[in-house]
Amino acid sequence: MPDPAAAPRTSASAGLGHDSGVSPSAVPRRAAEEWARPAPRRKHLSDSRKQKPTMAPDLETATPRLLLRKIFQTQPEVSPVVPKITEPWEPRESGSETHSERLSNTSMKIQLPDLVSEDTAIITFHTSRNKRKLSISEFERAVDKRSSQNLAKSMSDDKSSTRSLQASFSTPVPPNTIEKRGLLRRPKNRKTVNVDSFEGGVEQNLLQIKDAENYLVDSQAVSMIGTTVMMNDTKIALNNTELFVQPQLSEKSQGRLSALEPQLLARNVLERGSRAFNTAEPESQKEHLASNVDPEEEMVPEDHEDSALDHADRSGPASVGKAGSPPRDHQDYAQQSSYAEQVSGLVSGIQKEPLTLNVNPEEEMVQGDHEDSALYHTDRSSPASMGKAGSLPKDQQDCTQQSSYAEQVSGLVSGTFHRQTLSTPAVTTSRGRHLGSLSAQRSTRTSLREFVAHVIEKLNCGNEDGITDTEQEIVKDGAEKEGIAREVTELQSNMEYSEKLGEKLRKQTTSHINEKRQARTPVTPVEEEVMIEDAENQNSGKDVVEFPENAGARRLSRQSSAAFTRYSEPTRKKSIEPVEQTVDMDDGAVVEDTSELEEHKTEEEELSEDGAKSEELSMEMPAFVHAMADQVSLSLSTPRSLKMAVPKLSPKPPPAKQAPKKNRTEQRRKREPALPSSLVKKIFRHYVKMPVARDVFKVVEKCSEQYFKQLSNDLEAYTKHAGRKTVERADLELLMRRQGLVTDEMPLNVLIERHLPLEYRKLLIPVATSGNKVIPSK
């Protein structure tokens, strides 16, 4: 064995020796390579044989078997890399040593400290690799770790080398073959680090999506993105959920509105009147409290009613939407809804419609006042509407105006409960409530209402004493309320005017009122109401006058305005300005109304400059009241029951809150089919090339809406003429031709090329390319 083995060995070694002479490291490399081959191969024998001749002096002692055994043992553990590294070092370092010695040494070394050296070598190798790739995403690190671990496990040399190579190239190594020894150590770190580094890597990858090396990371990042997108979608979905709420409300409100317009009007009036009261209160405080109360009060209720009617008509739909949300519809549903609407959305509309209050509950007012005043605490809107609505149907003749107004004021806070209770002719009890409620409450609106309610009640009751008492109370309460009601300036102005009127009326016509009360119940309550109102709102007279105009009941308003103007010249002058302002604030229709009002005012101002206003008032009031009452009774055919008020008081505030939300979402929905305004602005600005005023864009938007209407009409006409149902290119070309945009000199394609970006041009104009291709293909 040894001889034949030695012979080839010698030859081999000779050959090797030559080689070794040429490159000292060649032999060890070859040996290492041979060793690196997977699985025990017989080639190792050749290697060993090759080695053996060199190692002859040593091997002579060691048998080939021993050598082979050593080789076999060392093979699986030896990695191709390590021996390469280690072996060359030694031979290079010690050139004097014989190759055989080196080989043997290396082999021995390899054999003995296989695990150790290999591991260390591998580890060092991998760490270096890892260091290089620290910047790369965590995934790669993990991969590297895995690969290094695998190498450490001394899989086949090739595998490990390939893996290492792959790792070096930062390509993801399929972990199929990798054993999981080392994973035990790492996972903790990985998990902790993965998140942070991964996220960072994700971000990087997001930026460098095209990085081929990181495609795995990218996929992970995409998954992250997907989750975030999902989040957004859910959020959007959540946001969208609101949209669905609104339409219901709007529908309900609309339904209510259509059904209960008169009620709404009344309510609006009531609300506004109440608000006017509230606003007027503070102003009244500032100015005369008692002086103008009487005439103003009388005027105010009427005006309020008128204005309320007007407003109710206009704001009905709007208010319905707002207040309609609270689902309190029963008989007074409409009223309530209208009232609630008013309350919810009121600030703007309130000014105009203090009188509307009067309209509704003229009759109810009387009765409902009590309730309203008492209820003011809880729900201004709901009860007010309730009370007002209830009051109206009750006493059409009686100061419906007054009652309505008072009810509105008081009812706003009090709510339906009171109405219902008040419906019964328990005036005295209601009065007591009112009084108590009046004193108790500090809210401006409620105070106003209370006042009015008190007055109305007293008026309705037909108790002279009561009236006077109520008046006194009113004055007191008015003072209190005035201080409180400073919130709404416009309302205040209106209220002031009404107050002034009421005050005047009161003072001058107390006696008249009493007399009239007896004679005409409807008149007195109205007057008293007016007075009360005036007491509360000194300057609300103007508003009162204007309110009627704003309301649908222009006749009423005119009448009332006529009456009021006579009553309150001074107040008119003061209040005209604020009223006008308030009117302007409101819809344009209001402006028209105000003009009418002003005309009336001017006319009447000239007439009534004397102090005999009270007399005139008293005279006119009854007439006016009657007229108002008649009209109101005619217009308001709604039931006066107060059922609705009570249970719906509580839900009113939350529905009120929901209403605005729903309105917003509804508005958003309705606006969606419109072009984005920003786009229109941009395009227009680009074409105009000049500074443009801001309000111009609104006009441009409206113009574009109109344009689209025309456009759709034309296109439909053309398509129908062609017997088709789909708009085609020819239809559009015909349209442009008729518009004068496309002429014989200016074909459509030229326009397309000029104004549209390239992407669209490509889609619209087929382009022929080489190879008989047409883009877009047909």
């Binding site: 227009f684 441009v700 439909e716 397309i752 889609l763």
Partner: protein, 76 residues
């Protein structure tokens, strides 16, 4: 600086006015083109009006009168 034509919005707009009417493919661009030209004409008219009134800013009156004329012209 030009923005993409809001295709779906245009479709929705036409559908809002004429629910039964259909639009062929890529017809939104022609509609958009029409709209652009309309705005272009409107802007021209407004600019002329502003020039005539010797103001350096386009004001509401200029635009309103321009709109009347332009809408009439683009009735087809």
């Amino acid at each position: 600086m030009k923005r993409a034509a809001p295709r779906s919005t245009l479709r929705g707009l036409i559908k809002k006015h004429k629910p039964r009417l259909r639009l062929a493919t890529n017809m939104e661009f022609l509609v958009h083109l029409n709209f652009l030209l309309f705005l272009h004409r409107l802007a021209e008219e407004a600019r002329i009006n502003a020039f005539e009134s010797k103001s350096k800013i386009i004001k509401l009156e200029h635009v309103i009168s321009a709109a009347k004329i332009t809408l009439k012209k683009s009735r087809g």
